[in-house]
């Protein structure tokens, strides 16, 4: 049941995104930027937590979940260190993902050869 909910949530988010791409010609970069910011905003208004509670990884795996981590991190940062936490909290919350993307991205790009585009 948990897996079904993750599937449904992920499928709806990705399906809606595909409609957005087909109908608006938004580039993938813009979609990703929009989703991260939207994730922060929705979490800020308390709208994303219920989706995470229901959909689990279906809500945290899409890039909206990256915004969710940033927003949650800020709240924890403020609770721990006040005004400084406003700046440090977001990146702290998303630190694992950011460092993983940098390190694994670097290693893979270093090891593999570019594929021809066909």
């Amino acid at each position: 049941m948990e897996y079904l909910r993750a599937f449904i949530t992920g499928a709806i988010i990705c399906g809606l995104s595909q409609i957005l791409i087909d109908k608006t010609k938004l580039t993938p970069a813009r979609i990703l930027v929009t989703y991260v910011v939207l994730g922060v905003v929705l979490t800020g208004f308390g709208l994303y937590q219920p989706i995470v509670d229901w959909g689990g990884a279906g809500a945290t795996v899409p890039l909206l979940g990256f915004g969710y981590s940033l927003a949650k991190g800020v709240i924890e940062g403020i609770a721990q260190s006040g005004l400084i936490g406003v700046l440090t909290g977001g990146v702290t919350g998303a630190a694992g993902g950011i460092a993983a993307a940098v390190v694994f991205g670097f290693l893979v790009a270093l090891v593999f050869k570019p594929k021809s585009k066909s």
Binding site: I13, L32, V40, P62, L110
Partner: protein, 147 residues
């Protein structure tokens, strides 16, 4: 060329952009859903291994990012992306793909301003807007004592 109305309708249906769009959406939903389901499986494995909720979530992101990077290096992710569109772009594996793909493409231009700089072609804007949004949100929360 003469075509009857029925033939014309059939032709129209065949050429109409609507059916590809529906197919696109279905592909995106199924692949995106499956990636999230895999994420749930990985998350549950980490929880079963005894990681606390928050660490398990972080470890899941890290694992998916690793897999996305590896599959991009092997050239498989982009093959899947051709069909799955948003289904491969929107999950965090797509973020990883957006880091590795340009880095590989521009590797020949050097390891610093080629590969390393291009890693942030898409990831850079995502971090700029994402982190800025989180700071704005944090300021609002801090100033108005919302948390």
């Amino acid at each position: 060329m003469h075509v009857s109305k029925d033939e014309y309708d059939a032709l129209l249906k065949q050429k109409s952009p609507n059916s590809p769009i529906l197919k696109d959406i279905l592909w995106a939903a199924v692949i995106g859903g499956l990636i999230c389901t895999a994420g749930q499986g990985i998350l549950n494995l980490y929880k079963m291994a005894g990681l606390p909720e928050k660490d398990a979530a972080t470890a899941t992101s890290i694992t998916l990012i690793f897999l996305g990077a590896l599959l991009t290096g092997l050239g498989w992710y982009d093959k899947l992306a051709k069909h799955a569109g948003a289904g491969t772009i929107v999950p965090i594996t797509g973020f990883s793909n957006a880091v590795v793909a340009p880095a590989l493409e521009f590797k020949s231009e050097g390891l610093v301003l080629g590969m390393a700089a291009k890693m942030f072609t898409i990831a850079g804007p995502v971090l700029v807007y994402g982190i800025s949004a989180s700071v704005v949100y944090g300021l609002v929360v801090y100033v108005f004592h919302l948390a």
